[in-house]
Amino acid sequence: MNTTKRVVIEPLTRVEGHGKVTIKLDPAGAVESARLHVVEFRGFERFIQGRPYWEIPVAVQRLCGICPVSHHLAAAKAMDGIVGVDQVTPTAEKIRRLMHYGQIFQSHSLHFFHLSSPDLLFGFDSDPARRNVLGVAGAYPELARQGILMRKFGQEVIRATAGKKVHGTGAIPGGVNRSLTTAERQELASEIPQQKEWARTAVGIARDYTLDNLGFAAEFAAFPSNHLGLVRRDGTFDLYDGVLRAVNSAGKKILDDVEVDRYADVLIEEVKPWSYMKFPFLRELGPETGWYRVGPLARLAVCDRIGTPEAEAARVEFVEAMGGVPGTMSLAYHWARMIETLSALEEIERLLDDPDIEGDELVLQGERRNEAVGVIEAPRGTLFHHYVVADDDTVMRANLIVSTTSNNEPMNRAVESVARKYLSGTEITEGLLNHVEVAIRAYDPCLSCATHALGKMPLVMEVHDAEGRIVGEGRRSA
């Protein structure tokens, strides 16, 4: 056999969204290339044009059903700018933060317990019949139950602040439309002690997994990279708001204290022909070396400290285990993610204790502007929303750089690294293919989010209706 063999993993499972991996093997069975293709797109940036600006925070949530709150809040923050509000009321900010931390808590719990734990608990090449959340429930019923109830708590926090667990309406331009009742506040606060215990357990499981497998983790999809995230001006970890900071693999700052409005000056997205997801990189470093990681591993790399005590202690332990420099291990994302989960819970506890959370000053208005940027740290990484709004209040243009998009190059490198190491020159089993997916899952990709944009079209486009008949054709010249 002297032809190139093509192996496909399709669809990726236990991730959000639609992706596939293609692996090309040369006649000797060595891996020539491995790519992560993101195969879906919808077209948000085009079809929200002409819609009134106050609809956008509710509309863009439909980019993703796991992290709708991220888009809801990023869009609301941008629309604050459109209505001329640079600082919302204390109640509004706290309600939004509560919503956001609730989301971080539920999304991270979902990812760890429902999506990733089967690989970590049973092994990457264990029986696929049980390598899922129900299999975990069978073998580790208490753990599965904790994961489910942790996600439930996060969703309850979202429901109280946004009005619905998935796709609520709580954040509006200039503020919010609701605050908590005393009953809601007390109900949620009563669950904190148990949730905290579980969150600590989760950190322990992720930490122990990493430390017990440190040698393996240092070889599996491990590579140095730049890292990007938001931090407060003083360098403290903050998932809701801040300025942009990027560090290189040695921990040295390459960007610091960059206002989010200037994101387009520092970032750019490259288009490649084989994926609907683009490849962002830092402009000043160029496409070869300017790519970077985002998300939990990156956020712990760029911040100087976490502002909540237990999570901060966990972070110190983490950084020490990483050797004092930004993490290189894809698998270390899980530990970083659980530390963030604990931090989110500590923040939720503080906010529930704050009387402003029941306040009734919900919304402000200022002088209308025509352009604004809203940036937030979504569960998966830095999320940028940028809108231009006409004088008649309709959206003229939108640009979205979505978290997972920034991890496109890192995920592709992870895929290639694992494919070369495990699939070259050997019989390819289902379990070995799952190794590739494990590398992708570590990044908790949200592939729906990452492919919002319209326009990623073939040069020659044949348009088929649902019966497969060609109903149109289009050409676009170079």
Binding site: P57, V58, G163, K164, I172, V363, D392, D393
Partner: protein, 243 residues
Amino acid sequence: MSESFTFYIDGVPVEAQPGMTILEAAQGAGIWIPRLCWHEDLEPFGGCRVCTVKANGRPCSACTQPAEPDSVVENDTPQLREWRRALVELLFAEGNHFCMICEKSGNCELQALAYRLGIAAPRFEHHWKPREVDASHPDVLIDRNRCILCARCVRASRDLDGKTVFGFTGRGPDRRVAVSSAARLADTDLEVTDAAMDVCPVGALVRKREGFSVPIGSRRFDDAPIGSDIEASGAAEPARQEE
């Protein structure tokens, strides 16, 4: 001196005054007849046909048909429910109704009616015909994607505001609400305080910048199905709301 009389809706005796329509009499008796284009402050239009009932065996719009002594009217029957469902499904298939991002969701009569009629999904193929949004006016927006041609705005502007801001133009699938003789809402004398601004049953004619200021849970139909207010007010038994 007017003499009241009795007629029957689904076997229930209903008192009416001469000149009352079937719908008005039913309303007074706490019987809900589904409707869309009817509004208590406006002359009936008979356009939507959702209030179709059978009076002495003949289908007619309850909002325009005068009540008659001893007539036998059918309202809540499987056949009429099926007709009304088809009408409402056609409205959804004709326009571009994205309830999930519409600021009127939860306060929308079309949506609430569809819920109460038990419509899970329109069976008809969607037209997907793009319709114009007019955002020219500083304080008011028309989104024709959501307009169901009920003519409430036309009637209200004419009869309550003494203006003629709105009118229909076009025929068949091209029929739409146009604004007086001008091209844009901004060129009319519509004011955000006009009565015409308070009658739109859907999210077509809206005040700008109100958006989603009413939270989920506090919207008109969040807790009570459409028609339940009428049923609660009258002597008749509320119609079954759950199937």
